[in-house]
Symmetry: C2
Subunit: 194 residues, 2 copies
DNA sequence: CCTACCGATCGGTAGG
DNA sequence: CCTACCGATCGGTAGG
């Protein structure tokens, strides 16, 4: 049973596509480029996938589902908001670290989804962001966080920092994803100042 | 003299192109799209610009020059590193706020520059980042900042937060750019925690 | 700034 | 998974 250790051909196509989309961007990536990476003809791609956009759709929505699962687990926890926020950040980083390529595509290329998929995607994203916002609100209410902070600014700063991680994190680095998440959380919660 | 209050036709072309590139991305924006926005034929664009890439080049390098100028001024200041960092952040935000559209293109589309322009661009960017890194180093050395922070992580978190601002900042918002810069600096320097 | 047009490349299909 | 091919669109040029 090769399927236990090997990716299905469709999964191989999608993985190679993710690499290509990350490097050149979705719009600048042609199906002929992708076919070449796989050593086949462009027309042959269509026995595995229905369209170029199907690949993008799968990449974006699979990542979204992973993020959601991670946050589900965090929300079940008891404890201070700062701890929940920290674990939310660590979870987000871990999900990204599991597939940096797909994460980069998720972040940079989702806008090339056509309607109604784009709308669905943005709804998922706003929902995820709002769940983090609720954690921050909780921390402000119970006195853990500064009460004068702008919530929108806080949550956007948070996501900016998290979402750019695939752009600079070196997977061969000695710093493991959990520790990276810890440090990022620490930086955002307690800042640079001593 | 209309030229005092009006943009040159070339500048108009570049501004409209920036809007288009921001909305659809560089690769997905056609010269015919751009011509339509300007109410002319696609071929007519070439009496104002040499190529599609020339537009991208100008947008990216003009923004880079603005960022550099802003940081030049900050580096001349005396005072604690935390103050310099804060002013560097405020300056960066102000430069972006002056042209959110060009800022978004600068951030998201520069990778479509061809060589050797891409290389030159990335060199400018790494230089700018390193100058911020030096300010953080100074603050760590003189005891203003935590000594255990990972410098790369700190500076990347900083730039992630700054560079995503054009994605969510509403120019019609009541919060002015200087105040936005202040709040962002405060969040990064002192964190969320009370 | 326009008309007319170029060669190249695009995503995708038919039929095997 | 291939050959053969489609109509559409691309950035850009010639010549006015």
């Amino acid at each position: 049973m090769d399927s236990v250790i090997n990716l299905s051909r469709k999964e191989q196509v999608i993985r190679k596509a993710a690499e290509l989309f990350r490097e050149k961007g979705y719009a600048a990536s042609s199906m002929r480029d992708l076919a070449q990476k796989l050593g086949i003809e462009a027309a042959s791609l269509y026995s595995h996938i229905k369209s170029k956009e199907e690949i993008l759709h799968q990449l974006c929505f699979d990542m979204a589902a992973e993020f959601r699962k991670s946050l589900d687990a965090v929300e079940k926890q008891k404890g201070p908001a700062s701890e929940k926020l920290k674990n939310g950040i660590i979870g987000h980083i871990q999900v990204m670290a599991k597939d940096l390529t797909a994460s980069a595509v998720f972040m940079n290329e989702h806008r090339h989804l056509s309607q109604p998929h784009l709308r669905d995607f943005l709804l998922l994203r706003i929902n995820y962001i709002n769940r983090f916002k609720a954690i921050i609100d909780e921390g402000v209410k119970n006195g853990e966080f500064k009460e004068h902070i702008d919530r929108k600014l806080a949550v956007m700063t948070l996501f900016s920092s998290l979402n750019w991680m695939p752009m600079w994190y070196d997977p061969n680095s000695t710093i493991v994803p959990t520790s990276l998440g810890q440090q990022l959380a620490d930086m955002l919660v307690t800042g640079l100042r001593k």
